[in-house]
């Protein structure tokens, strides 16, 4: 039996688990309905109190929706930030705060960073097992989007080789991120600085033409304009990275004597195992620090995880409150029915029939609220994802996991079973007491 279960594919296991959580509610429903035909009466009652019912359904939908949305948004944030850092295997910067350096390079947060020299760059680029060492350069912007200088190899790596259009050929050409809003053939003038301080005239009438476009990467680089690093150096009146006789060269190798410096180098090893050796090698010098963005993120996420644990307690407490108010609501709704209940009992309808009518009525409301709640959760997460994506630059995923459905199924089962309680209490109010009310 256990072996059979373990052999099921994961998706099927999850589905079975969710369905199993619904079994009590379904069994209760089947037991209550057996041999009865209460449909017209339930429909008529639902219609009669439609506005009360609607308000109640919306209340359930919002409270369920928001508590799922919080979980989904936190998960989306975690996954989205990790996806954004995917292409940055190992980052080398001057010693400092790893988190700050990571935010500056992966998430393109404007930050003043100390520079690494040409010698340092060459040592790294020529180290054993290094497949790619991409210097980065920041500082300018177009329409509020950062301009990032680097080498062609890194752009190909970011786009998995799927660049639309072509790679740049000289320093007046650029590749735009997928969400930059720029198109191939557009010409843009770089502004010095980024954000409110950007100076549109500092670089004279230097123009950059967009010749290629990256596919979406889910990272803030989607909203960046990527240019040859020589272009950034040039517009700031710095050396070109190459000796005068090769002044028009684009890309490595660079000559240390003409290398203006880079705040960060993204390193890719030719084999996975080599990454760790490279990290320790580049961390030994006093001039450099090397780190895996994934590790730094994991550390941030563990803080987030601690917050999540606190939040999940809060979620459980809120869920209990929601469950209790749902039950209280059902109690009040059942009181609404006391006349109908007593009438049915007076006519001789079996108790199970009365319970069946009121319970099915309740179940309809709770189920409708829950289904609507899933929509609310999806909409709320999409809204949060949209805002955060604009704010942080990376894409936040909006998707349900089987745990969400398990949670919903457990809630539905729990509430429908607990809903029997107020009904049984109402049932015990004797017919004649209510008849004489």
């Amino acid at each position: 039996m256990m072996a059979l279960w373990n052999n099921l594919p994961g998706g099927l296991q999850d589905t079975v688990f969710v369905l199993a959580l619904l079994v009590p509610a379904v069994a209760l429903c089947a037991g209550l309905w057996r041999g009865f035909a209460p449909g017209p009466l339930i429909r008529a009652l639902l219609w009669r109190y439609r506005w009360t019912n609607l308000g109640y359904v919306i209340l359930i939908a919002i409270s369920i929706g928001l508590s799922i949305a919080i979980v989904m948004a936190e998960r989306g944030l975690r996954e989205g930030s990790a996806t954004a850092a995917d292409k940055f295997d190992l980052i080398v910067t001057a010693p400092g705060n790893e988190t700050t350096m990571m935010l500056a390079t992966v998430y393109l947060r404007p930050t003043a960073m100390p520079l690494l020299s040409g010698d340092v760059y060459n040592d790294i680029a020529s180290a054993e097992n290094v497949a790619m060492a991409a210097p980065l350069s920041f500082g300018d912007s177009v329409n509020g989007m950062p301009i990032v200088g680097t080498i062609a190899d890194f752009v190909s790596h970011l786009g998995d080789g799927q660049i639309q259009g072509r790679m740049w050929q000289d320093e007046a050409e650029a590749v735009a991120g997928a969400l930059s809003g720029l198109h191939i053939g557009d010409e843009v003038a770089p502004a010095h600085g980024i954000g409110d301080d950007a100076d549109n005239d500092a670089h004279g009438d230097f123009h950059i033409e967009i010749v290629g476009k990256l596919p979406p990467t889910g990272s803030p680089w989607d909203r960046a304009v990527i240019v040859p690093i020589e272009s950034v150096w040039h517009t700031h009146g710095l050396a070109s990275g190459h000796p005068p006789d090769r002044a028009n060269q684009i890309g490595p190798p660079f000559d240390p004597a003409y290398f203006p410096g880079t705040p960060a180098i993204v390193v890719r090893a030719d084999a996975l195992f080599a990454n760790y050796a490279l990290r320790s090698a580049f961390s030994q010098s006093e001039q450099t620090m090397a780190f895996f963005p994934g590790t730094v993120l994991a550390r941030l996420h563990s803080i987030l995880g601690d917050i999540r644990r606190v939040m999940s307690w809060l979620t459980i407490v809120t869920q209990c409150l929601v469950g209790m108010s749902v039950l209280l609501g059902l109690f009040i709704l059942s009181r609404l029915f006391s006349r109908q209940i007593s009438l049915l009992r007076t006519l001789g309808a079996p108790s199970r029939f009365v319970v069946c009518v009121v319970w099915s009525y309740n179940l309809t409301l709770v189920a409708a609220g829950t289904v609507l709640g899933i929509l609310v959760a999806w909409a709320a997460t999409a809204g949060i994802a949209y805002r955060v994506s604009n704010l942080m630059g990376f894409t936040i995923t909006t998707r349900f996991e089987s745990m969400d459905f398990a949670f919903i199924a457990a809630f539905l089962s729990g509430v429908t079973i607990c809903a029997l309680l107020p009904i049984l209490v109402s049932l015990n109010a004797t017919p004649v007491q209510n008849l004489n009310d």
Partner: protein, 220 residues
Amino acid sequence: MSLALEVTDLSVRTARHKALLEVGNLKIDAGAAVGIRGPSGAGKSTLLSALAGLTDRTSGTIRWGDTDILSLSRAGRSDFRASTIGFVFQDHRLFEELSPLQNASLSLMYAPKSERRPVLARAGALLSTFGVPSDHATVAPMSGGERQRIAVARALTQDPQIILADEPTANLDRVTAQTLGNDLLGSVRNAGKTLVLVSHDDALLARMDTILTLEHGRLL
């Protein structure tokens, strides 16, 4: 098939132990039609409720045929009502949100599957006999007299052996009242049902086998 009634030492009290009804002894033959009259507040509705096993704080015996309904459990009394008693309430007690036919055939919702068709057919036939307009989606807009007739139809639909009717013609004009009285008495007498009927309508009471008078909770 019909049932005789034998009541002994029946007493119904309020929650504050005030006596609402004291009936030492009452016998009704199987298949008889008995009228009950008395001033307002005398306890007529209370007596009918007690006879259907609907009152609390009730002592004594109420024997329908061989069954003492006061010795039955709550569920047992409910079953007994469903199978044996048709009750017409003073204030109709219809489901406002259901149609006339659905109201009159309400019991089919919890009756065994095999009985659903006959119940529906009987309800339809009774409503057309009573001249109830059938084009209403719900009974909410219907007049008091129309509701009264639906309530009587509902009581007769299950073909019960006992009919307890609380002022079934109270809201009707003379002609309609007389027609309904005829229909009710007709179906009771034909099938030999036992009828206990509360009324202020002397014409209707005059057609009963026996008339009892209730005052201050006691039979005179």
